[in-house]
């Protein structure tokens, strides 16, 4: 189910009503959340099935199949965590955790990477003149699998580390893994933070409601009005057969803005929806395009994934505790795997490598002192410009369909001709980027992501009403899916 669809509006309205009716029973509320989350998830039908299924029954079977995977993953980690809590010896606990990680990554790897690796192996052998028939299975990637697998895995790891006791309430745990506001595209919540919220009475205050409604509106605006209007621009630039510097630069800008508005829009709606229900889920974005260093960018972009990778991969690899070379290597490996997490394609690997190498390079002392002759204001501006250039070139790697396209687009940066439609392209980019830039500048200056809530009542109502009007004007009957659904 898409947030930006009429079905979700109906679903959420019905859910809120039932939620209110179950206000006197915690168990009933958690059962309701679980049932609603499974309904929300089961509503999704992969395109391949929709186009090929002859009847609704087949479609329903597909729904159950992927829902079963979600339930199985949750049950496995629930049981393993109980085992981890009981087992006394470190060795047996280690074995159990390994089993959990292997099972989780096995399922994720099978669905997400099987065909990719089979295809890549076949190509590799072919390049050495060894014919190898790759057996690809044409698997459909269950939506949200990367998100809920990481969320569920972090729970067992935290229980193993004795940072969290294993829960004995199955419904609470199932509801935690499948909590519908953040199920399919995050944020990847930590059990330490979210799970206890299912065990207690939630207090819903007026300010939580205000924040929730604001975030839902602003997130929906970013998706429906901004991201969905940047999307055709990015498509026009990236799907073209010939490139020039202007189309590459403006197209990459369009994609960088599209992916940000799309993903942060989703995260805002997720957080807003949870706030309205009395829950607190983490901020996933904190003005990433204001970052003046790559490190800062990763502290502000997809925070739930970058902190997950830090806590469960980078630090266990040794982090920065094992010397300079090993730190660089750890950074590169972490980011490379982070890139691969996004999808089974070599350009994601390259994107991860690009950021890993960037993070390693910016730790070299010479890069830290590069602008030391300038005053702090100019230094920050230059650092920001350099960071954004690096980040947006990274988006080119991320969006490109092949290495050949990356090479073509990079070469085109030396061609300063422009197609006749470039004026219209730039106009669209400016028109849709302006509201985002204004809002983020305000948030940045006030150091408050909820700056809009500090407005006087009449101004806030006008702003919210304007967002609502814009959403109504650009609402698509068949909502465009969020980019991160494919990951």
């Amino acid at each position: 189910m898409l947030f930006n669809s009429g079905v979700f509006l109906q679903f959420f309205a019905a859910f809120v009503l039932l939620y209110w009716l179950t206000r006197n029973s915690l168990t009933l509320r958690n059962c309701l959340i679980l049932a609603a989350s499974y309904l929300f998830y089961g509503w999704w039908t992969p395109d391949k099935v929709e186009s090929s299924s002859a009847n609704a029954l087949l479609g329903a079977l597909w729904h159950c199949r992927f829902l079963a995977l979600l339930v199985a993953t949750s049950l496995l980690d629930f049981s393993i965590a109980l085992g981890l809590d009981k087992l006394p010896t470190p060795r047996s606990r280690q074995w159990l955790l390994s089993a959990s990680i292997a099972a989780n990554l096995g399922v994720l790897g099978f669905f997400k990477y099987h065909d990719f690796f089979a295809q890549s192996c076949s190509e590799l052998f072919s390049s050495f003149g060894i014919p190898l028939q790759a057996r690809t299975l044409g698997l459909i990637l269950p939506v949200g699998i990367s998100f809920y697998t990481f969320q569920s895995m972090s729970y067992t790891i935290d229980v193993y580390r004795r940072e969290l006791p294993a829960t004995r309430r199955l419904v609470n745990f199932l509801a935690f893994v499948s909590f519908f506001p953040q199920l399919v595209a995050g944020p990847i919540e930590r059990a330490k933070h979210l799970l206890p919220q299912f065990a207690g009475t939630r207090v819903i205050t007026l300010s939580m409601l205000e924040e929730g409604i604001w975030l839902i509106l602003w997130g929906m605006f970013k998706k429906v009005v901004l991201a969905d209007n940047f999307a055709p621009l990015a498509e026009m630039a990236f799907d073209h057969s010939s490139f020039t510097a202007t189309t590459v630069i403006l197209g990459t800008l369009a994609f960088g803005l599209q992916i940000y508005c799309d993903f942060s829009g989703y995260s805002d709606i997720a957080r807003g929806t949870a706030r309205v229900l009395g829950f607190d889920i983490m901020w996933n974005f904190n003005l990433p395009y204001s970052a003046a260093s790559l490190r800062e960018f990763w502290q502000r972009w997809h925070i739930s994934l970058s902190t997950w990778l830090r806590d469960y991969l980078y630090i266990p690899l040794g982090g920065n505790r094992l010397g300079t070379t090993r730190t660089y290597l750890n950074l590169i490996v972490t980011m490379l795997l982070g890139g691969l997490w996004h999808g089974a394609a070599w350009n994601f690997v390259l994107w991860g490598l690009w950021h890993g190498a960037g993070l390693a390079l910016t730790r070299v002392p010479i890069f830290n002192s590069q602008f030391s002759i300038l005053n702090s204001q100019s230094r920050r501006w230059l650092s920001w410009l350099a960071t954004m250039t690096f980040v947006f070139y990274g988006w080119l790697l991320f969006r490109a369909k092949s290495f050949t396209q990356i090479a073509d687009m990079t070469r085109a940066l030396a061609d300063f001709s422009a197609p006749p439609w470039i004026g219209s392209f730039a106009l669209n980019l400016v028109v849709f980027a302006a509201p985002l830039a204004l809002m983020e500048l305000w948030q940045f200056k006030s150091r408050n992501l909820l700056a809009a809530l500090s407005l006087p009542s009449w101004a806030r109502i006008t702003l919210q009403g304007s967002l609502l009007t814009a959403i109504a004007l650009f609402w698509q009957k068949k909502g465009a899916a969020f980019i991160y659904f494919q990951f």
Binding site: G6, L26, T201, R202, L209, F425, G465, W475, K477
Partner: protein, 328 residues
Amino acid sequence: MKSHVCEFAPKDLLRLASLPLLPLALFAVVMHLGAKSHLLPPPRPALDTERTILIHQAEASRESRDAEVLLLGDSSCLMNVSARQLTEQLGRPALNLGTFSFLDLNAHALLLREHARANPVRLRAIVLLMHPESLRRSGSETYYLAALTNYLGGLDHCQAETAAGQASCLLGVEIFQGRILSRALPIPLPGAYGRHYGFTRDLENLLTRERGSAIDPDPKPFEGSAEYRLAPTLERASKNFRAAVPPGVKLLVGITPAPERFAGPRYPQLHADLLRQWSQWLQADAALTNLPPALPDDSFVRTTHLKESVIPRYTGQLAAGLRPHLSP
């Protein structure tokens, strides 16, 4: 244990949820008042590829033009003939008002009437060109017919069949999009059309430059069946179209080519029969029998549209077929 405690009054919730609706309601009122009082410009919803073409052709039909030869028909007329090249080859100005197969002859007759009203003197010949696939269609698709008639009637393109459509009309969404947005902002065309033409404005400019003709930039595998026939409703629609032809203006009719192997070896005979029958229904002054019924499969980007490289040759054949009927 309680599930949750609400520390707010119901009126707070009502206030939070309802007050943002006020600016939305105000916007809707302003849009409707602006439309009613003609403070807003008239609707011109050139917001996607189809509507941009439709509106361009409808506008072209209403303007005073130099055209002596008017091309009308479906998308095979729009995409397979270059009106600019035809003008050069005939030495007489031609204008292409071809649209889509989603529109039937009654809709083409609407465009013809508009053109005849704006240009009562110069027109010498009307060339009606349709693909055999369009000839078996039983009528216009509601959406496209409404888009055309609404535009010609100066109405906003509201689709109030569903609850969502009604809400959209009520909120003034179509008024804003059709009267303001389409004028203020060029809209990127999707897919192959975007890559070839760019934005709505670029497509309009090209159509104007090419005297109403376009090319199909979106190759697709051949689809449908080659069991071509004339739809029973075509007879009545043909008579209606004939009635729209101004007196003294010749009506020439042709069927655009199908892919040779796709159409099959018996198609040339079928093509001749279809053309003869249709021409009779139209009471046409002549049928363009010199036009090839089929062309090699590799001449096509899809079942109905020719490749850009083949268009000049086909236009040349059309010019050759038209010359005898245009001599003084």
